[in-house]
């Protein structure tokens, strides 16, 4: 009863946030180059991307008008890729952002994160970082398709966890291979003094589309939810499920807040070709403009309707879903240009397992 009331009030909160749509989180896809070729990559990055890195000044000039409408200090720029550490001017870019008042951080695979890089980025005002670690030695290396990726990621982890200044977490993409390793991985992270751990499933987009065995079965999804719910009782590490999907009865058990896809509501992005969109993993069909010809602030204020009014998502399996008002079609990255059906529904899969268990018990 309390949960239902709290969810209803949270829905009012979401509606209010949507009307307000204050920009507080801005992705910059600064490169599509990557030093790894991960099997689950959602953006299909390669070492030799044909697309050249975006000149930093193009990005900076595009976002400076935001300062007339928002406090720059309230906007965190998430520098992503590709692998942002492949940009030799990364520290200079970050320093210029910080000098203009914006806060910034990176999402990295940690492969090129050395003590020198760590010091350069911290001294340039980096305040947040997310590191990917997808399992213990063999599992991580398999998913990352590189025999040294685990050792390098752990070197990065040691540096990051030792910093008093950084807001950071470790993210793990849970798949068929590493799901049974999660308890061991949790203890490993605790031994490394990690305080925050975020778990994802793998969306069937980018290169992951061609690796069906990376998707969790409905039983494994339930296993993951139970693992996270249980891990959250362990105060040594703050474990949570990512904001990628609505998870029904597990909502309050696996996250601090209820599901809320903030794409286009608080989150925007400048993509490698200058497109203005929300999270970089959202289908590029949803781009709302381009910094080459549009004013970023005008686009933020006047467009993004497709993300702020999600009523069009009440289609396909979502049309008859009893939890639609809480979920609103799930995360934007689970919709393609046809806009006719969500790519996958964790909530439905969890419900199917529960339903099956009820049948077995009844029999």
């Amino acid at each position: 009863m309390l949960n239902r009331l709290s969810q209803s009030i949270f829905n009012l909160f979401k509606a209010n946030e949507t009307r307000l749509h204050e920009l507080s989180y801005l992705f910059w896809e600064c490169t599509q180059r990557c030093n790894l070729k991960c099997r689950h990559c959602g953006s299909d990055c390669t070492a030799n991307s044909a697309i050249r890195d975006m000149p930093f000044d193009d990005f900076l000039q595009a976002i400076l008008p935001l300062k007339s409408a928002f406090f720059a200090k309230n906007i965190t720029v998430a520098i992503t890729g590709g692998e942002p550490l492949l940009r030799s001017d990364l520290a200079q870019c970050g320093k210029a952002l910080r000098q203009n008042g914006f806060r910034w951080g990176i999402v990295t695979n940690g492969y090129a994160y050395t003590p020198e890089v760590h010091a350069q980025l911290l001294s340039a005002g980096m305040g947040a970082i997310t590191l990917s670690l997808d399992g213990l030695h063999d599992t991580h290396n398999w998913l990352r398709a590189n025999p040294h990726s685990f050792d390098n990621a752990v070197r990065a982890l040691d540096l990051i966890a030792s910093s008093k200044r950084l807001f950071y977490d470790v993210v793990t993409c849970v798949n068929h291979l590493n799901i049974n390793e999660l308890p061991l991985l949790k203890e490993f992270l605790i031994s490394k003094n990690v305080k925050a751990w975020r778990l994802f499933t793998i969306a069937p987009i980018g290169r992951a589309k061609d690796n069906a065995d990376l998707q969790l079965t409905p039983q494994e999804l339930t296993q993951l939810m139970d693992f996270i719910a249980n891990a959250r009782t362990d105060k040594r590490i703050d474990t949570k499920f990512s904001c990628e999907a609505y998870v029904g009865k597990y909502e309050r058990k696996v996250r601090d807040a209820c599901f809320f896809c903030r794409a286009g509501i608080n989150i925007a992005s400048v993509l490698i070709d200058g497109s203005i969109s929300a999270c970089p993993n959202i289908n590029r069909h949803f781009a709302q403009g381009n910094i080459k010809q549009d004013n970023f602030l005008d686009i933020w204020n006047s467009r993004f309707e497709v993300m702020r009014d999600r009523s069009w998502t009440k289609t396909g399996i979502c049309a008859k879903c009893r939890d639609y008002r809480n979920c609103k079609g799930g995360a934007m990255h689970l919709w393609d240009e046809k806009q006719d059906a969500v790519m996958g529904c964790i909530h439905q899969k969890i419900n199917d397992v529960a339903e099956k268990e009820r049948w077995v018990k009844a029999e």
Binding site: G125, A128, T130, F167, Y168, C243, E244, D256
Partner: protein, 130 residues
């Protein structure tokens, strides 16, 4: 009209966020993004010049005592910008680390007291070692 409406919505944000028992509703990380940065830091900037010639010196290492992860080098204009965790005072060190390139200068340590604005300017002159 728009500003008044937004003000009302900001008040409602606090009410709804609080009542839904999710104070953390205000803090989020985007899927595939990192956490937001709410940390406090200080910007220290300045110019390093030669005491003898008054010319800017390139390649001087500027660092903070006991903070091994925070340092930078002066550029060709002798300028530096360094972001450091917020403290009340800093022991700032200036060292010539590029051997004979750009001249040879004696090191210098300076104590800096932070003001209320979190931004500090520090211009120094280094003595020629020769």
């Amino acid at each position: 009209m728009g500003k008044i409406a937004d003000k009302k919505r900001r008040i409602l944000r606090g009410i709804f966020g609080g009542l839904s028992l999710t104070a953390v509703a205000f803090v989020f990380e985007a899927c595939y993004g990192m956490p937001e940065d709410f940390g406090l830091d200080t910007r220290i900037e300045g110019v390093v010049k030669s005491k003898t010639t008054n010319e800017p010196i390139e390649g001087i290492k500027v660092s903070i005592e006991h903070e091994v992860d925070y340092y930078t080098l002066t550029d060709s204009n002798g300028q530096f910008v360094l972001f450091v965790p917020m403290e009340d005072r800093y022991e700032v060190k200036f060292e010539d680390v590029d051997s004979i390139q750009n001249g040879i200068f004696l090191p210098k340590d300076t104590t800096l007291i932070r003001d209320a604005y979190g931004e500090l300017t520090l211009n120094v002159s280094l003595e020629d070692a020769q």
